[in-house]
Symmetry: C2
Amino acid sequence: MTSSRATIRDVAAAAGVSPTTVSFVLNDTPGQAIPEATRHRVRSAVAQLGYTPHRIARALREGSSRLVLLRAGPLRGSASMASLIAGMDEELRRHGHALIVTYGTVEAERELLEAVAPRTVLDLVRIYGSGDSPQGDGGDVDGLEAHAAVQLGHLLELGHRSIAVALPADPSFEPLSSLRRRQLEAAAARAGATAIPIIIPREPSGAALALARLRAEHPRATAIAAFNDDVAFVVLAAMHAAGLSAPDDLAVVGFDEGEHAALWNPPLSSLRIDAAEFGRRAARRALGLDTGAWQRPPSQVVRRATT
Amino acid sequence: MTSSRATIRDVAAAAGVSPTTVSFVLNDTPGQAIPEATRHRVRSAVAQLGYTPHRIARALREGSSRLVLLRAGPLRGSASMASLIAGMDEELRRHGHALIVTYGTVEAERELLEAVAPRTVLDLVRIYGSGDSPQGDGGDVDGLEAHAAVQLGHLLELGHRSIAVALPADPSFEPLSSLRRRQLEAAAARAGATAIPIIIPREPSGAALALARLRAEHPRATAIAAFNDDVAFVVLAAMHAAGLSAPDDLAVVGFDEGEHAALWNPPLSSLRIDAAEFGRRAARRALGLDTGAWQRPPSQVVRRATT
DNA sequence: GCTAGTCACTGAATCCGTTTAGTGCGTCTA
DNA sequence: TAGACGCACTAAACGGATTCAGTGACTAGC
């Protein structure tokens, strides 16, 4: 058995052409007139030798790898991440690219960037934050805005009119949390309801304080739309500590439902998001391809005990 | 401004030597006699030009990138992952390598492997599962075994003698879950106590059934040591549904404490693990370096309401 | 009958760092 | 005084795919 892998030269020799021609065939290089017979010979040789282009060599020549790097940042634990990544990966693969996801710090990324030379670097927070809406959609809702509207809509349907918007204190969620606040405020205004932004710190004491202030300053608030499930859990814990219960004292909905929502005590109502389409779309964008018709990513509230 | 980056040839020209010599200096190639004066000239030129070796070119020549790929598998959400990755990343960086973490499927990884050609691929489940103990430790506990002992020790100290071991039904946790079972059984036996393995499926109905069976077949069981926090949450939810409460009916401890433990209702006692040292060690191993003195990674049970 | 153009293909340069196999020179040993 | 050896360096090959600039054969147009 040959210990080393087949190269483009081996393929060329087997097909009786030059490496140049093999490259033209394999990459469908435009402007090259190569008859089907020759193409076929090359492709048979490729199949027979089990040839795969050496990605590193190609990257050296092309200046970058056929890789896309996705920076997940603080959304690391986000539930829709899995479907987003799956969709993105699938679409990238279709175009001969692979996906790398980083969850780490920026400094850890420097070396990585140098080492893999990705074609594109995607920053999830920035993508989401930028509101990725298609050009000329005339102000129609885009992905995140639609989700926010669905979450709020659930509370509106249940008759709530004064709704607190619970945002995380962690600054790494910016500019996402401000965006969400604006989207919910706008959606509430459209429906003739009121949105009251409140900041929920991670620590129980801070969360308890924020909750107490809400109760004191906005006694008419009857529901809370949380930034994500984790914020909802903190709110629920603070309510429990204060002797309050959902939904009687305050209804609570999560966002981007994760596996813990159903297990929580009480089980949390939350917005379930399928982000696969969003991922596919982001992939096409990253590759500079047209993004196709924009389908709004589906989402719906799974109702449990807290609303 | 020069639009393209500095190459080794630029450095060589600036330092008045050949590219070969620059390479020898930068890589501290053994067996080469290069006076300090020349080394200094080269290093100044490097600093002045801001030269960084082109990782892709190097990878092409060397046959692999200075990268290590870590396969997180089902441990993706595991809380100690963060510290493990941080430690590993730090140590790898010290040796000029970078870390890539994959959370995805094997098929998605194929292309990635080809594209980045990592020096080593690490499979977390296999590393953990292999019991990574130093040679000749005479049967002393290694990392995971020590953690299991600490978790169980917490229950033993509280007077429990008949302890259920709650393992996930998800087969992707193998061989980790079997290993844990054996470790806890052994630790219990050493203390003259009994360990009762039970399998906890994700779905509430299955979990309820498993719990009911435990109560029926082992009425003397007073505590549950869970495989991880998620299993503990499922158990807690099943107990709540059955009208049982922790710790009065059954004490429950988690493993590898995550951010939800403190928020849970009731707040979950769990084992907090600092895996940074383990990560550093795994990194040194991956690079084929000596792993240094083996310090047992620290862990302790954070006691809350469920024990 | 000659130029222009297309077709089908190829040689060689290129990307950039590493490494092998030397070279020239001086010193030490037998 | 030849041979061996160490020192301080270098030229050229190498890894493998891509791509620019052709080349020879043939057809079409005037």
